[in-house]
């Protein structure tokens, strides 16, 4: 492996890891803060990717805009969607046993996948990268690297930084952190915890949808893509330690590196490497890398 290939694989690993982090961060937040196991989280990623495909012509017709207006419309829609979803299906699940939540969200996966099949069909689609980002950068003498992949990494980094800021530096973040530690106490201090939860949930949904939309030009859009990403994201969440954003970031990058280089160096065992890594880490640290609380 020469240096240019190595560099390209590093960039790919970074991009994949950051994308995983975006989806997994919503999962770890909803799980860590609200205590809900949300199996339907992968579906939001799938919905995002399909939005990037299906919304683009609609948005183009109404606003005359391109890729970025589609992103904006998608985010607004997903916040509304997440807010309504929390109200309808999750608000009464907090007191329940985890396994009841598993049952409920499993039902949601079935419904989302079938809705997708009804509305958009079961075909595999490609989504074009926006023309402004469609080029590639030369790397070494023979290799090039697509600009769009760099853009994906950039968006993910920006969002990660934004999340970190909101959580550690703002009043809202403080309330959310407090709410995850002691729900009743926060409530008795006069903070509307239900609204706060709904907000966190909607934000988690929006981030997953955004990740799906941004990933669509890189990964193409296909049925069942949500389930694939869901399992990997659960792996990220537990390796990082449930509820820990920092842990999720580190774990996602780790998985990105292991998966990408596994596919290059050990293609026969690429699929299983991620799970071997998880088993090893959890046998070494039974509560993940960064335990919260």
């Amino acid at each position: 492996m020469d240096i240019a290939t190595f560099l390209i694989q590093c960039l790919n690993a970074l991009q994949y890891g950051l994308l995983l982090f975006l989806v997994a961060s919503g999962l770890t937040l909803i799980f860590g803060i609200m205590g809900v196991i949300n199996l339907a989280h992968g579906s939001f990623y799938m919905i995002g990717a399909y939005m990037a495909y299906a919304l683009a012509p609609l948005v183009g017709a109404t606003f005359g805009g391109g890729f970025f207006s589609t992103l904006a419309v998608g985010v607004v829609l997903s916040v509304l969607f997440g807010y309504a979803l929390e109200w309808a299906f999750f608000s009464f699940l907090y007191e329940r046993d985890h396994l009841q939540q598993v049952l409920m969200t499993y039902g949601l996966i079935l419904v989302f996948e079938e809705m997708r099949s009804l509305i958009v069909g079961d075909d595999v689609h490609g989504v074009d990268a926006p023309p402004t980002l469609a080029g590639s950068l030369p790397l070494g003498e023979l290799m090039t690297y697509p600009v769009y992949r760099l853009f994906v990494s950039g968006v993910c980094l920006l969002l990660a930084a934004g999340m970190y800021f909101v959580f550690t530096r703002t009043r809202l973040g403080m309330m959310i952190r407090a709410g995850s530690t002691n729900r009743e106490m926060v409530q008795s201090l006069g903070i509307d915890i239900k609204f706060l939860y709904r907000l966190v949930f909607a934000a988690g949904v929006a981030i997953a949808v955004l990740a799906g939309m941004v990933a669509a030009p890189v990964s193409s859009v296909y049925p069942g893509m949500g389930n694939t990403v869901l399992i990997v994201c659960f792996v990220v969440v537990v390796i990082g330690g449930i509820g820990s954003i920092r842990g999720a970031l580190l774990a996602a990058l780790l998985i990105g590196v292991v998966d990408t280089f596994g596919k290059v160096l050990l293609p026969q065992a690429a699929g299983v490497l991620v799970y071997v890594l998880m088993a090893l880490i959890l046998l070494w640290k039974p509560d993940g890398l960064f335990k919260v609380g």
Partner: protein
């Protein structure tokens, strides 16, 4: 209803189910016998997980690995040895699954909660990739069984009725075994681990061997279900070990109701029959190909309205009736109170 009455009701329910299953081939056609045979295999699979999740409180998300190992062991052992005697084949397959469960349990029981769920998934995925990506398991195509196992001339599992009968006996044996196990002191200890492991340890139980034993037994029973499945279909493929399979069986027992053996039976039957119902073109016409939608909404509704699963419906009813009776009592007594005050 008093406590003894409820106990009798439960016993009567289980007896009725098994009597109904025994009588089923007499009234049903080929398709019906085939379908219920398949559901009985799922029931054994679900019972194996119920021992772990419902009784011991360990949520395993890798049960399909043991199921798949039972199935693959059947295919590999039959084609390697050339023998098809049930006498040694069945125990060998069950032992294979049990041994893998013993190894997985010994490692993964160091973790708890969601971490345990994910470690068991990891080990199941490893088994999945071994049969999927190595020459051992024949890749994505899987392996065909060279024939059907049997016992000489007097049991030939190639005949649908014989297979139905054999599956029925297996289900009955597993149910009976687990029912006895749960009533033994071992079963009580497992329940203790579920309710409060700390306290169990404080009272002098070393809980780890109990959990490991439960995990191993559960894996072995799942292996039995996998063996039956392989014999029924005559072919094994990696999908038997996929996490979808582990998820489906978990959904079965949650839907049926955790903490009761009959919940696993009810869940296995309910999920399969619901699927059959929403898939039937006679009822839904062209919409039948979107059967996931109906199934999904039914599952959501059941999660929302039945916190104890399908098994909890009678209790829910009783509580509602008692609540109504109490409300009536309260109303009449408050009227009397008013009358007294007036007088």
């Amino acid at each position: 209803m008093d406590g003894i009455g409820i106990q009798r009701g439960k016993l009567a329910f289980v007896l009725l189910v098994f009597l109904g299953l025994a009588a089923w081939p007499a009234v049903a056609g080929n398709y019906g016998v085939d379908l219920v045979g398949k559901i009985m295999i799922s029931s054994i699979f679900a019972l194996s997980l119920e021992l772990l999740v419902g009784t011991t409180g360990l949520v395993c998300f890798g049960q399909a690995a043991f199921f798949g190992i039972g199935a693959y062991a059947a295919a590999l052992l039959m084609s390697q040895s050339g023998s098809s005697s049930l006498w040694w084949l069945l125990p060998a397959c069950v032992v294979c699954a049990g041994l893998y469960a013993l190894a997985v349990g010994a490692l993964s029981l160091r973790t708890r909660g969601v971490y345990f769920i994910m470690v068991t998934l990891a080990f199941a995925q490893m088994a999945y990739y071994v049969v999927h990506d190595t020459p051992l398991g024949g890749g994505t195509d899987g392996i065909y069984l060279p024939g059907k196992p049997g016992l000489g001339t007097w049991l030939d599992l190639d005949k649908p009725l014989a297979f139905y009968g054999f599956t029925y006996v297996c289900l009955l044996a597993v149910f009976g075994f687990l029912a006895l196990l749960l009533r033994s002191s071992f079963g009580r200890a497992l329940a203790g681990v579920r309710v409060n492991e700390q306290r169990m340890r404080a009272t002098g139980f070393s809980t780890f061997p109990y959990k490991l034993a439960s995990f191993t037994i559960s894996g072995a029973i799942a292996g039995l279900a996998g063996f039956l499945f392989a014999v029924k279909d005559g072919v094994v493929n990696p999908e038997l070990m996929s996490w979808h399979q582990s998820g489906a069986v978990l959904i079965m027992i949650i839907l049926g109701g955790l903490g009761h053996l009959r919940g696993a039976l009810i869940g296995a039957f309910a999920l399969a029959l619901l699927e059959e119902f929403f898939k039937s073109e006679a009822v839904f016409g062209a919409f039948a190909k979107h059967w996931h939608l109906g199934l999904g909404f039914t599952i959501i509704l059941s999660a929302a309205m039945l916190p104890r699963g399908l098994v909890g419906i009678p209790a829910l009813w009783r509580e509602r009736l008692e609540g109504r009776a109490r409300a009536l009592d309260a109303k009449s007594s408050s009227k009397e109170g008013i009358r007294e005050a007036v007088v």
